[in-house]
Amino acid sequence: MSVKKIPMRDGYGKALLELIAANPKVIALDADVAKSTRSGWVKDKFPDNFIDMGIAEQDLAGTAAGLALGGMLPFTSTYAVFMAGRAWDEIRTTICYNNLNVKIAGAHAGISVGPDGATHQALEDVAIMRVLPNMTVVCPCDAEETRKATLAFAKIDGPCYVRFGREAVPVVTDETTPFELGKARLCREGSDVAIIACGAMVYESLEAAKVLADENISAEVIDLHTVKPIDVDAVVAAAKKCGCVVTAEEHQIFGGMGSAVAECLAKNFPAPQEFIAIQDTFGESGQPQELMDAYGLNQSSIVAAAKKVIARK
């Protein structure tokens, strides 16, 4: 059975077009990768609402801050590794400290960017965006959720970061699937283990839950798209119900969504947790699926982690 796959960035591009059609103050900025991030769709359709900043991520972030101060609603995008990394100080000191209404998209995030290798594989961006006061951080699971997150950003005041990968990934949600910033989405009910995932790992977690079901293990799957502010109620409820947790993300083990869940549980309801993530190492070149398998970011790793964490209860 073939699964329908769409790149999440398509959802970002679609949302930008919808937003600009409704509000001419929305402006998209990119740093010479507009074709990749899909902000180039704005360039084609609404050229007056698009600025290519050139290869200058710091200037991109600073100019976006100025546009927000001047009354526009800027959406910036480039590769996540440069967006979050190269421009971090500008995002911290100019955008977040002033609580400016700048929306930031990190594209080509995760190890699945593949052959470009470790320099281009953003595996730290969630951690370094999450620590910033005033920042909202979202890791959507598919193109439609990316679209909804981008649209939702326009409805709240303040800085927001969304990260998504390069590859076409399985479609998990559709137009009718509810989405609310800060509210985790229950994808599958279960009682033995709670798998809390974000990004493309949501699909892998749902597949893992099917495998576990065949072995009479009941896995709950939660799409924790909003890493910050974290949905404390949903995370705690899942841990209470299942008694143990597996987190799954395409990001470094330290500081990402798994860490956010661990912080939440440590404070509210300590529970055994296993972390599916990159294990404190840089990536390398390879085909996307080859890398996801090599670095343990797939359903079989989640199945193994689920069994391990259940044994720790």
Partner: protein, 273 residues
């Protein structure tokens, strides 16, 4: 209200020295070199602002890029009436509206935080671009230090403004030749600075940065320039007005003690120009 610009410069210098002394720390050198620039902007009929309505939508904007010279900006904002002059005595203290480096949320009349160098020109460009997109006529001013021009982002922004024909941007370089560790020339020189800006596509105006009337004139010249941004290269002296601070990098971020303050104030008050 007609303001005697030279008298105001004297008052602002006194404020800077007094408030840094009271705070116990701060950056007098670059604050003192920027005094005439700031007085020209706020009191020389250059910038349109309304102290009674700091968020007035049609105001011009001033972006301080070299955030460590907050004292000169705070003094000018207070003297302009954005907040009581008495607040200057709270600089850098817990709960003060006057943070060690500027923060928008704390201080009336302040447009943006600053402190991490090299970022202000990008912000100014963004505001100016928004004004162009929205069809409003305001101007945006941005004060940078010369040492700050060693930050790469400045030159990213310097490429952007001419590309977008942002003639509503007026940058100012406080060219005082001294940074924290020594002189700009011995650390990373800015030889041919006007030519560098000119080559990037800017309308370059060189001006005596301690001649407040010349500065007012230069700002008006900049406002008449169309289709490209302007930059004022303001030739200044670090620590201007206090003999023992002038040109000395040790006064970049040093606090005068009571005796030094008394001498400094006497010199500033006795200055004839």
């Amino acid at each position: 209200m007609e303001v005697n610009l030279k008298e105001m410069c004297r008052t602002v210098r006194e404020d800077i020295l007094t408030m840094i002394h009271a705070a116990g720390s701060g950056h007098p050198g670059g604050s003192l070199s920027s005094v005439e620039i700031m007085v020209a902007l706020y009191f020389g009929d250059v910038m349109k602002v309304d102290a009674k309505n700091p968020d007035w939508n049609d105001r011009d904007r001033f972006i301080l890029s070299k955030g460590h010279v907050a004292p000169v900006l705070y003094s000018v904002l207070a003297r302009k009436g954005f907040f009581p002059v008495e607040e200057l005595g709270t600089l850098r203290k817990f709960g003060s509206i006057l943070q060690g480096h500027p923060h928008k949320a704390h201080t009336p009349g302040l447009e943006c935080s600053a402190g991490s160098l090299g970022q202000g020109l990008s912000v100014a460009n963004g505001i100016a671009l928004a004004f162009k997109k929205l069809g409003t006529g305001q101007r945006v001013y941005c004060l940078m230090g010369d040492g700050e021009l060693q930050e790469g982002q400045i030159w990213e922004a310097a490429m952007f403004a001419p590309q977008q024909k942002l003639d509503n941007v007026c940058a100012i370089v406080d060219y005082n030749h001294v940074q924290l560790d020594g002189t700009v020339e011995e650390i990373k020189s800015l030889d041919n600075l006007p030519a560098r800006w000119n080559d990037f596509g800017w309308n370059v105006i060189e001006v005596d940065g301690h001649d407040v009337n010349a500065l007012v004139h230069a700002f008006k010249l900049a406002a008449l320039t169309k289709d490209r941004p302007s930059v004022l290269i303001a030739h200044t002296v670090k620590g201007k007005g206090v003999s023992f601070m002038e040109g000395d990098c040790n006064w970049h971020g040093n606090c005068p003690n009571a005796e030094q303050l008394a001498q400094a104030l006497a010199e500033v008050r006795g200055a004839t120009s």
